[in-house]
């Protein structure tokens, strides 16, 4: 049941806040409601709806994005905390028309069935491979353990990440 999570009596939360941040390598200058999360900022203010939500409580991983290169759950990050920082979402993974190897490998390996969890997985995997280009399957499983997928059984996701890692190591 919806509860009164936002105490509208508290005017500070209703206050507009000015923010400057970089999203997918583009400078953004925004005025938003102070109570909004990074997830809401991305989806509602910037119409970057590739970032999904499945709980808004930090439990499902669907909203994962990179904040200054670190994996964060955007539903748990207050938008105001992102002032002066840099955010990467799934929309920023492509290089022009060329898919990132993780994207093409996910598509080819069947790693995106309904696709709803996919953006979160892609960013979690990207963060991992930047840190550990030759991650083992166990390391991949560990790094993706905060992301829930109900469709695939994860195995095709592991295979996609391994294939992408090989491509990236091969310098492609």
């Amino acid at each position: 049941m919806a509860t009164d999570l936002i105490p509208l009596g508290d005017p500070s939360l209703r206050q507009k806040v000015r923010l400057e941040l970089v999203v997918n390598e583009e400078r953004r200058d925004l005025v938003i409601d102070g109570y909004k999360s990074l997830l809401e900022l991305l989806r509602e203010e910037l119409q970057l709806t590739g970032t999904k939500h499945g709980c808004e409580l930090g439990e499902c991983g669907a909203c994962a994005v990179l904040l200054d290169g670190q994996l964060v759950l955007s539903c748990l990050v207050a938008a105001v905390e992102c002032d002066g920082r840099s955010v990467q979402t799934v929309e920023g993974m492509q290089n022009g028309p060329t898919l990132h190897p993780l994207q093409s490998c996910f598509a080819d390996a069947g790693a995106a069935q309904c696709g709803y969890c996919t953006p979160g997985f892609l960013l979690a995997a990207k963060e991992l491979l930047e840190r550990k280009p030759d991650a083992t399957r166990a390391e991949i499983a560990e790094a993706l353990s905060g992301q829930l997928c109900r469709c695939t059984g994860y195995l095709q996701i592991f295979e996609a990440v391994e294939a992408a890692a090989a491509q990236l190591r091969g310098g492609r």
Binding site: M1, E91, Q147, C149
Partner: protein, 764 residues
Amino acid sequence: MPKKSGRDGGARRAKSRSGELRTVGHNVARAEGVEKVTGAARYIDDLVFDDMLYGATLRSTVPAGRIVAVEKDPQFDWTGFVFVDHRDITAPGRNAVAMITEDQPFLAVDRVRHQAEPIWLVAHADRARLAAGLARITVRYEKEKAQLDFETATEVLKEIAIKRGDLDAAFARADVVVEGTYRTGAQEQLYIETNGVIAQPGAGDHADGITVHGSMQCPYYVVRALRVLLGLPEAKVRVVQTTTGGGFGGKEEYPSVLAGHAALLARKAGKPVKMVYERHEDLIATTKRHPSIITHRTAMKKDGTILGIDIDLRLDGGAYVTLSPVVLSRAAIHATGPYRADAVRIRGRVMMTHTPPNGAFRGFGAPQSQFAAEVHMDRIAAELGIEPIALRRKNLFNTGDVTATGQKLHDSVAAHEVLDRALARHAIATKAAAKARGKTAAKGAVKGAVKGATKNGAAANGAPLRGTGLALFFHGSGFTGGGEVKLASKAGIALTKDGVQLLVGSTEIGQGTRTMHAQIVAESLGIPYDMIDTADPDTARVPDSGPTVASRTCMVVGRILQRAAEKLRAQLGDYDDGKSFKKRARKLLEARGTVEVIEEYERPGDIVWNDTTYEGDAYGAYAWGANIADIEIDPISYQARCTHFTAVIDIGKAIHPILAEGQIEGGTLQGIGWALYEDVVMRDGKMHNASLTNYIIPTTLDTPPITVEIVEHPYKNGPFGAKGVGECPIDGPAAAIVNAIRAATGKRLDAVPATPERIMKALV
């Protein structure tokens, strides 16, 4: 355009029998592959309509009671709010969710029959205001006595009986009678995208119509529900499925309720209204897998021959009928497991309780009833002192055998084959694992474990207890009995200047419907896959192909499309490649304007079913499965963990091997989740653990290596031999795991989920 895939799809499959197919059987690029990895795919909550309001639902907080009053806080500023209650539903509309019966209201009138039952609907343009307002509406009840436990419930929502042969005689002849009672818990579908819709006043030229976009499996179910609710003719109702973030049955019937709610608000407000559930609301309010209690009595000969099977099966229906009668029927028909017996009696009942209605979930009753059947098989083996594999082999269906409903299995029976393949694959995996551990494979460990009853290796040294368990199962493809005839599904193909467009009401919910249908049509027309386009699932454009459920989308709808393609091919005359096809297509289009071939389901001549006596050919074909689970139990925490899983499934023909494997892997892991982790805890008739922190689904770390093998035993009436694939994989894992736990501990569990608490109780 066939695309090379990076994985060993081919190696994992048994050799294809289909020769030189050009598209079918190949891992072509998935139709919506790119949009799903770039974030471009638009799901319902990604859409925003002009002047749109948000809707929310005021729900009951008691399991049973009379509504005395609904009161709004007079201190609160209600400007801009829209309210709907049952009085807003006016004739010729009816306050009834059109499903199998019309017992469930869209909005409670004067009583509530379960927790979280919708009472009022509220809308506002600002979501934060909406939440604040909703919290300031209170309902006063006069509580009534609630029946929360289905095992002691007496009100029956639906009862069926299956009878075959002389059961009394079978039990009189028996050397041994083996009895057991088995229980399964509720399970949440847990699609990662929650339920959501947007309703808009008007449909096409009809200002008084209604249009609903949403996440759903069955747009035409929603059309029907809206017609009944609003008293509208079909032309004034338009339903469009948006990209859907998983369904698993959970978006089969529930979207009808939600679409109705949003439609009521939209009509009252005169504006579009979006309703997307939060996770907590989705968990407490929507349907789950039916909990079950199933008792088996089996008349056995000493040599392991089954003489007679007597089964009593009860499901917890919850407060309303929803789809329970058909879930029950599938549960009952599959209740013997894939074994023959000359005498069978199955009594099935759905019990009414004051809990949120249960409904469709992948497998649709068959996972519950085959869990009982396969755990019971191991019990019989133990009581007779026969090896479990030998016992199964003795009774497994062969071609020519007869099922509980009297169906003679003419063709495509792969029960033995999947067992053989699973044992072979498991042996290889076990050897490899042992080698990887640097040990020599303990000879006979595999067989010994599957034999059951390996000794309770009392873990004095703290080492985990290990065991291996087996389960065999089958799953009827398509609607039960006369269902497909009643549905009379339609699907078709329209000629375009660049190729063809498929007109299909079946939905893409992640399983690859569009891709697989396009492959079937490309192959049948003999043109490249990339010349096939699929119309959006909009009921204003596509015909009713029946619901996207029951593992029917490939076998049944795919077959209709194949027939349509053959007809179109005949109309086009000779062409030998895509280019000459286009030429002929353009000519024909010039002459006729539009060229569309719409075909309807045709009952294969040899299928006969009697819906009153429950006799005959329950399904056109069955998929067959074998699972072997290796598990270990931590002797301190009693947590069981699956260390390796083998899944061999016969699906007739893998139209797209990677997609088919994805269905098997996903279904298997969902089954493992149901077996080990997923525990719906009910308190006072309400889901108590309604969040993802305490309703646990498997994560990457809970996923064992899964060896998948697809067997292709073609079905003559399926497209290129294909049968259903979506559901069969979830019928086996729970039994395989519980049988493995018994092998590891020597103790019976007879229930899922096998939580640490349950395992500890059995052990100490």
